[in-house]
């Protein structure tokens, strides 16, 4: 019960971030722009959405890393006889690490999301800076490559016949971040829209 509630803590803000950066989120951004000025522009709307997504992507990755560590102690966190049993996947020593360096997937998720968050903060604080274009391309590339990792991890879930909801939330965050970076890339290509001081 508690672990399901905890998933909602990560999943709801991630989905809100995705909604905010989408064109459908414009009205919400407008209603919040009097309080948060940055939301008055499309660029600010997308970077804020991405900031929320990458932060909660980082948090849910940290949670999976913590669960993996607790299981290795001999404990359990979300063991279930149903298909939704993250312990069976996060506690599987053959599947819970990457096949090349043996690093925990949770730790990899933390590092990737932290780097994405760093790039978003730089773009947000200095949108016309020299790093902007490079970071937008890098963000698109990293989250695009993340899709391949997600496919690998989903193949593990199919193989084991179990679904790890924490991992799924992290996967949703990656897909949402990819959508955000693609939107940001499109916006950046339109010089006028990128530099606009308010959404039209």
């Amino acid at each position: 019960m508690l672990d399901n509630l905890l998933i909602a803590v990560y999943l709801i803000p991630t989905l809100f971030g995705l909604f905010l950066l989408s064109p459908m989120g414009r009205s919400t951004a407008d209603s919040l722009s009097s309080r948060y000025e940055i939301l008055s522009t499309v660029r600010g709307q997308i970077t804020t959405g991405l900031q929320i997504i990458t932060f909660f992507g980082f948090a849910v990755s940290a949670q999976t890393f913590w669960i993996t560590s607790k299981i290795s102690e001999g404990g359990n966190f979300c063991t279930s006889s149903t298909v939704f049993s993250c312990d069976d996947l996060l506690g599987n020593n053959d599947l819970n690490v990457d096949p090349f360096f043996g690093m925990s997937w949770g730790l990899i998720g933390m590092m990737v999301n932290a780097f994405l968050l760093f790039m978003i903060l730089v773009i947000k604080n200095d949108p016309n800076g020299e790093y902007t274009q490079r970071f937008i391309q890098l963000g698109t590339l990293i989250t695009g490559a993340g899709i391949l990792v997600i496919l690998l991890l989903i193949s593990y879930e199919i193989e084991e016949g179990k679904i790890c909801l924490y991992c799924t939330t992290a996967h949703i965050a990656n897909v949402a971040a990819l959508v955000g970076f693609l939107r940001l890339r499109k916006l950046h290509d339109d010089n006028a829209a990128w530099k606009a001081s308010s959404a039209k």
């Binding site: 940290a62 001999g74 760093f118």
Partner: protein
């Protein structure tokens, strides 16, 4: 002298973002470090034993081996009811393995819940049979079955002819022994030459009334 200092107008945004993200990252790592105590996977004493995979022969047929089913993560030190595991890595053509096979049969019978004279926990013996890369050491499932029958072993033999388990466990040569606690933690390995597997069982397992 006129100094030439270049000014980076973007350094503030990068530095501030780097500081924020690094702080968040290290706070998360510190929380994990203080609230979890992960145990490494390995074959040294105190580490969690790696998995053993493959088909196992139990005397009648070969079936998928489930190593995890031998362990109980809730087991606590001193608990007499937990079952221990004695893991043997061997090669049916290795002379030392053949010499010690009779002892293994005796140990499996002695440290069993079926032995009324044993006041310790039940020890499950498991053999992982490999094929060493030495001339004349060719093996097969039929040879493993014959070896098991010849020495009167009643415990399961895992087919490790492809050496997968041996590699995973980092076994330098056969026979190699491991005594594993009921929670899956390695309690002793045969790199410790001060005692035999039997000696380790006698010394390290809890006893009734002790």
């Amino acid at each position: 002298m006129e100094g030439k200092l270049s000014k980076d107008d973007h350094a503030g945004a990068v530095g501030s973002a780097a500081l924020t993200v690094t702080s968040i990252f290290f706070i998360a790592i510190m929380i994990i470090a203080f609230t979890a105590n992960p145990i490494a996977i390995g074959t040294d004493v105190g580490e969690r034993a790696p998995n053993v995979e493959g088909k196992a022969y139990n005397g009648t047929s070969w079936s998928e081996f489930d190593f995890e089913s031998y362990f109980d993560s809730t087991w606590g030190e001193g608990n007499i009811s937990g079952q221990w595991v004695a893991m043997i890595f061997m090669d049916t053509d290795c002379p030392y393995c053949q010499q010690s096979a009779s002892n293994q049969a005796d140990w499996a019978n002695s440290y069993s819940a079926n032995n009324p004279n044993w006041n310790g926990p039940h020890v499950n013996f498991i053999a992982s049979a490999t094929e060493l890369n030495i001339q004349g050491h060719d093996s097969s499932r039929a040879e493993i079955q014959d070896f098991r029958a010849e020495y009167g072993h009643g415990f399961p033999y895992v087919d490790d002819i492809d050496q997968d388990n041996m590699d995973k466990w980092g076994i330098p040569g056969t026979p190699a022994y491991f005594l594993i606690q009921p929670d899956g933690i390695v309690a002793w390995n045969s790199e410790d030459k001060s005692k035999t597997l039997a000696g380790a069982i006698e010394e390290l397992t809890p006893k009734v009334g002790a």
